[in-house]
């Protein structure tokens, strides 16, 4: 997985999943059609027309595969609709200094890379993009590196198992289903029966 792209910038800390995809769009029973509702309440006027000055409505952002945001991205609700909406819009990676735990898990399961940056480099990317909005960054998953022209090359952490799954197309549910024997053995020797619903 290698991404070479311009960057859409949302300079807010603690962007929560209610902003990423408001709850009223969660009544769907499918995963489809969420990209248009991404950041809906920041993105559209009351009459539904796009706000011209909101970053995701610019042609540049529409072509971007990378979103740069402030600290603690994806906090709040566990809705997986958030990474579904982000990937349907076209993002393949988010850059922040930290992520809420559930959002990070949900993203990795949807081929959206939650890239953790050290604070100083994160701040320097905001500056670099302010100077040159057309700047392109390169994200390389196999080597776990993020770089841009004139910037530092940094490596980012990622769960080794999640990385393998992403690179080799391993399906996590299939991986656990294959451990049926171990699960059956565990069930058979539960120290006490908690099977209270039966």
């Amino acid at each position: 997985m290698r991404i070479h792209s311009t960057v859409a910038v949302l300079p807010n800390d603690n962007i929560d999943t209610d902003q990423i995809i408001p709850a009223r769009f969660l009544k769907t029973i499918s995963k489809d059609g969420l990209g248009d509702q991404l950041f809906c309440d920041w993105r559209y006027e009351a009459d539904g027309s796009p706000k011209a000055d909101f970053v995701l409505n610019t042609p540049a952002a529409k072509a971007s595969q990378v979103l740069l945001a402030g600290d603690n991205f994806g906090c709040g609700s566990s809705r997986e609709h958030a990474p579904w909406a982000l990937t349907q819009y076209g993002f393949q990676a988010v850059l922040s200094t930290s992520y809420a735990d559930i959002f990070k898990q949900n993203s990795l399961k949807n081929r959206l890379l939650p890239i953790v940056m050290p604070k100083d480099i994160h701040a320097s990317l905001f500056v670099a993009l302010a100077e040159n909005p057309a700047l392109q960054v390169t994200v390389d998953l196999p080597t776990q590196t993020l770089s841009w022209p004139g910037g530092p090359s940094m490596s980012f952490p990622i769960d080794a198992f999640a990385k393998d799954c992403l690179l080799e197309g391993v399906d996590e549910i299939g991986y656990v289903l294959k451990q049926d024997a171990a699960i059956t053995a565990f069930e058979a020797q539960r120290p006490i029966s908690l099977n209270t619903l039966a």
Partner: protein, 469 residues
């Protein structure tokens, strides 16, 4: 497996649910109870169908509807067709996959985190998951309870296991005793304000200390419920006599010999003497005041007697900008008080504060008083069972006489998916758990507070310190 090293309750529950641990891979953790609701499950059931896989343990799975269900009288149909389809889909899925289900018309329907404990499904030492971030509520019983996404819902349905890396342990010690007018909600809002909305990321909280021991089970649920609002994966409280007493005799609780065995096991759960945590913080219950949020995340909170902070005092530019944006959204000025701020709506409900003791607290303030004519007050019990109990005590009459609405059980205005919502620009004092922009309705502005503060504010029509009534 367990060595003689002293362990926290978090590690004990974790260790006892380990199915497999492979070098480099996350642990395969067995799940004792999987709660399912209509919003985060449809795509997971579709996934099962696509794989041709059954639910491995329907006997450890339980479904109900709460999020997108109306709180209008139950004989009325669900008017919102999209919501009606979602509710019907859960019923179809539960039937097809053989999962026990409390439907919309069921006399025991309610918010998933309210009915789990109420029915005795939630028990000490369990691993509990739900496709919902407030699953930590069940931690009040000494269960390790995680909110999960829809892919993980599918995984647990298919395998009864979750792939998980161990979390860091974080002790939140609350010593002292709460003063009149101060409640469990204020403890957890104070924690969110102290460590921030991301302060517990990667961690599981254990709440300890004399002030926690003094809380009732319902109050403990309020505290654990909002662990996620301080960023934690889960939050729990070691079980004690109060826990056992609460669980005993409930519909799904162990009976007879099974009870004795379970009880003996539960008593081994509390954290060992000498066990250590990765992080620790303390909250002084003696000096705690009623809390209120002023901003657009639960960490932006303060004592109700304090004034709104000034973004200019923040050294970090992004933090300054976030605070500035929050105040613009809330239409508040740095340095102003929140007490006295005019409000339009009061919402008493949600999995944080919709249980019987919450309703009693609100009723104790509203009894013999009237709500301000300029304020809409909604009281939404967490379950149909709570509704019946409250009515048996005459609480519904107190609310109605005061001029408040008494509604059917559900999430309601906590998430504003079901038609109960704020209008743009309106202010609300809410006993729920999130004050994010638009959370309670597009453009709505939320002050999070306790049921006591909410009820006092309902009477005065402005944000009110209950101690001043």
């Amino acid at each position: 497996m367990p060595s003689n090293k002293p362990r926290t309750i978090i590690e004990k529950v974790w260790d006892s649910h380990m199915v497999a641990e492979k070098e480099g891979a996350p642990a395969v953790l067995f799940i004792d109870l999987h709660l399912v609701h209509e919003v985060t499950s449809p795509q997971a059931f579709s996934g099962l169908r696509a794989r041709g896989v059954k639910v491995r343990r329907p006997d450890l799975t339980f479904a109900t509807v709460d999020h997108s269900t109306p709180t209008t009288p139950r004989h009325l149909p669900i008017i919102d067709q999209i919501a009606a389809t979602q509710v019907a889909q859960l019923e179809t899925n539960a039937t097809e996959f053989g999962i026990p289900y409390f439907g919309f018309q069921n006399v025991n329907q309610g918010i998933v985190h309210v009915i789990g404990p109420e029915q005795g499904l939630t028990q000490p030492g369990m691993t509990v998951v739900c496709g919902d971030s407030h699953t930590a509520t069940h931690g009040a019983f000494g269960a390790l309870a995680f909110g999960i996404g829809t892919s993980e819902v599918e995984m647990v349905l298919a395998t009864q296991c979750l792939l998980q890396r161990p979390s860091k342990t974080f002790e939140v010690k609350v010593e002292g005793s709460l003063k009149p007018g101060v409640s469990a909600k204020d403890i957890i809002l104070a924690l969110c304000a102290k460590i921030g909305i991301g302060g517990g990321t990667g961690c599981v909280f254990e709440f300890t200390g004399s002030a926690i021991r003094a809380l009732s089970m319902e109050e403990r649920m309020t505290v654990c419920n909002m662990a996620i609002e301080a960023g934690a994966r889960a939050g729990l409280i070691a079980p004690d006599e109060k826990t056992y007493e609460y669980v005993k005799g409930r519909k799904f609780a162990p009976q007879g010999e099974a009870w004795d065995k379970a009880l003996a096991y539960w008593k081994t759960l509390p954290t060992d003497e000498g066990a250590t945590y990765d992080y620790t913080t303390t909250i002084d219950a003696d000096t705690l005041e009623p809390m209120i949020t002023f901003g657009t995340n639960p960490g932006m909170g303060m004592a109700i007697t304090a004034s709104v902070p000034n973004p200019a005092d923040s050294a970090d530019p992004l933090e300054r900008e976030s605070l500035r944006k929050a105040l613009v959204y809330m239409n508040l000025e740095a340095g102003q008080a929140i007490a006295g701020q005019k409000i339009d709506v009061v919402f008493i409900g949600s999995c944080t504060n919709s249980r019987l003791t919450d309703l009693r607290a609100a009723a104790s303030v509203l009894k013999g008083r009237k709500v301000s004519p300029s304020v809409r007050v909604m009281v939404v019990p967490g379950s149909q069972e709570i509704k019946r109990q409250a009515e048996a005590e005459g609480l519904d009459k107190i609310f109605r006489d005061a001029g408040a609405e008494w509604r059917e059980a559900g999430c309601s205005m906590c998430i504003a998916m079901n038609g109960d919502q704020l209008s743009p620009g309106q202010y609300s004092v809410s006993t729920s758990n999130r004050n994010f922009e638009g959370r309670q309705g597009k453009g709505g502005r939320t002050f999070l507070a306790s049921p006591l503060t909410a009820a006092a504010s309902a009477v005065m029509g402005v944000v009110t310190d209950v101690r001043s009534l």
